[in-house]
């Protein structure tokens, strides 16, 4: 008897496109009420995974169960209970904001009166009530995203799938979206999202997997991952370009847990940033700028893959 609180489970899940392997055998379980994230750079296999979970992409191999059902045989039934926020907007730009919700609600076979009622509530929720009768075309990117989120909730879904929900938005618009998603999470909606923004993953995800090359490099809560793969603090140093390499060599003598030499900066992974900075100066090095910060998922990613996330 499957556990009713496991909404999605995957074992050895593989997706190939011809010779190319997008998802190379992954295992995961997503629980009711949690916010689960797939963090990774472009091409890591996140969207391919999302599309398989969204029942619009049959797995090449492996097992996938969503709401206890088979996505290939029962795709239609599963999709009736999913909300999907795709990476690219698929709104009907020729219809009004409200019409987009009405049309979408009809796809789920909901009665018109119920859709109307929900449309008003959802537009209120995503702060678009005053634009309800405007066409979608002239809306800003952030408003379109919020409308897409409202649309994805019209069937009151068990699981909300968000594929890079804030990619392409300006910082302020991102925060509005995060705020709405956080409220949904508070209401107990199960969120599954992909992102290549570490701050998004940290803000929203209870649990996440770091994905790279179609596989999981690590999994855990943001805090667990940082504790496991990084140090409490990071000292970021910038030197004059001429001195950059030399400084990197000299820093090898400073006692640190780990050192990352990037093109423009040098990162020292240490328990205490200020102590480390004093030690750097003790070795006769004077950085042009220095910054002590807490470790983030970006550092976890760098450690696991040797690359930066947002390049």
């Amino acid at each position: 008897m499957p556990d009713p609180d496991i909404l999605i489970s995957a074992h050895g899940l593989i997706k190939k496109f011809g010779e190319f392997t997008a998802v190379a055998g992954i295992d995961f379980e997503i629980w009711r009420g949690e916010a689960f994230g797939f963090l990774g750079p472009n091409g890591a296999g996140k969207s391919s995974t999302m599309r398989m979970v969204g029942c619009v992409s049959p797995p090449t191999a492996g097992e996938l169960s969503i709401l206890g059902l088979d996505p290939v045989a029962d795709g239609s039934t599963i999709r009736a209970r999913l909300g999907v926020v795709p990476q690219e907007d698929t709104l009907d730009v020729e219809l009004t904001v409200r019409e987009n919700l009405l049309v979408y609600g009809r796809y789920f076979g909901l009665p018109r009166s119920l859709i109307r009622e929900r449309a008003d509530q959802l537009l209120d929720f995503v702060q678009l009530s005053d634009r309800a009768d405007d066409k979608v075309e002239p809306l800003s990117g952030g408003m379109k995203r919020r409308l897409t989120i409202a649309r994805s909730l019209v069937n009151n879904p068990d699981i909300l799938l968000l594929d890079e929900p804030t990619t392409g938005l300006d910082p302020q618009a991102r925060h509005v979206v995060w705020d709405r998603l956080y409220r949904l999470k508070q209401r107990g909606v199960t969120l599954v999202l992909t992102t290549h923004y570490m701050d998004e993953a940290e803000q929203l995800c209870d649990r996440l997997v770091v994905m790279d090359g179609g596989r999981f490099a690590a999994e855990g809560s943001p805090r667990e991952l940082i504790e496991r793969y990084s140090t409490p603090e990071v000292l970021e140093l910038r030197f004059d370009i001429a001195e950059h390499e030399q400084a990197a060599e000299k820093l090898a003598d400073v006692p640190v847990e780990r050192i990352e030499v990037l093109a423009d900066r040098i990162l020292l992974y240490v328990p205490d940033g200020d102590t480390a900075l004093a030690a750097v100066r003790g070795h006769g090095l004077e950085p042009r700028t220095s910054l002590v910060r807490r470790s983030s998922l970006e550092d976890v990613f760098l450690r696991l893959t040797g690359r930066r996330l947002e390049d």
Partner: protein, 276 residues
């Protein structure tokens, strides 16, 4: 066409529950919602198209033709001869225009097919829903065409009422295979080729404007296999009031077979495009 059994999901939403058409109907409703914005303009062109063609070809050119004698046309006026042919040709045009750019737009520009694919609708439902809309447009245009034909005095028999379903069938014989093909394309450039080298030659050489007996012998078999000729011949036999059972059966059977083959092909190609 089977429907998947659905466990109850409360008032939340419902997956496939009724016949195969139930989910397609939801997509049809989507097209209808969009059409509410543009229907006025489309009605004008539905009326204008037969008025212009029947006026210029039927009355204008027809006067000259009729003076030379119309034995080759079966003894009817040129207007009465070409009107049902033009009805069938207009249905072809409607079928082709609905199954090309709107499909490309839905999958590439507006991406609304992907939005629908994320709901209980399956690719085939999305396809069928759009075909329902195309069918509605064919009914509308063929009806308007017949009304204009009658106003021009180009109808010779009450059988002419049956040219409306003939228009629908002719349009679908073009729409279903072309839509099955259109969904596989990544660029719209081939549509211009289809219209220029497919539709226009058919329009000119499928017996719409002159009987096939005027074609050289080698070209006639080519005309016989084109769906438009069957549509034209059938519509004409009805409008002039001399349909035969055998002829009607052949024409209907041929057009229906092509339309059905297009539906089966589209069921596959829609799935291939929308379920990557």
């Amino acid at each position: 066409m089977t429907s998947v059994a659905t466990p109850a999901t409360g008032a939340r939403s419902s997956g496939p529950a009724h016949g195969w058409w139930a989910l397609g109907l939801r997509e049809f409703w989507f097209w209808l919602t969009n059409y509410r914005r543009t229907w006025r303009g489309s009605i004008y062109s539905s009326v204008l198209n037969p008025v212009l063609y029947l006026g210029a070809m039927g009355l204008g050119l027809g006067t000259l033709v009729d003076q030379r004698g119309t034995a080759a046309l079966g003894g009817v006026s040129y207007l009465a001869f070409i009107a049902p042919g033009l009805l069938a040709a207009a249905a072809m045009e409607t079928g082709l225009s609905e199954s090309t750019y709107p499909v490309m737009g839905s999958v590439k520009w507006r991406k609304t097919f992907y939005a629908a694919a994320a709901t209980p609708l399956r690719p085939a439902d999305i396809f069928h829903g759009h075909l329902m809309f195309t069918t509605m447009r064919l009914v509308m245009n063929s009806t308007v065409f017949l009304i204009v034909m009658s106003a021009f005095g180009a109808v010779r028999s009450p059988w002419a009422a049956a040219t409306i379903p003939v228009g629908v069938l002719t349009g679908l014989a073009f729409a279903t295979p072309v839509e099955a093909w259109a969904i596989t394309l990544s660029k719209e450039t081939m549509f211009a080729v289809l219209f220029r080298f497919g539709m226009i030659p058919l329009f000119l050489f499928s017996g719409t404007f002159f009987p096939l007996s005027q074609l050289p012998g080698w070209a006639r078999p080519i005309a016989y296999v084109t769906p438009l000729w069957h549509g034209v011949a059938l519509a004409r036999s009805l409008s002039l009031g001399h349909p035969t059972l055998a002829g009607t059966a052949v024409h209907v059977g041929y057009l229906a077979a092509i339309a059905l083959a297009g539906i089966l092909a589209g069921n596959l190609t829609y799935r291939r495009r929308l379920y990557v």
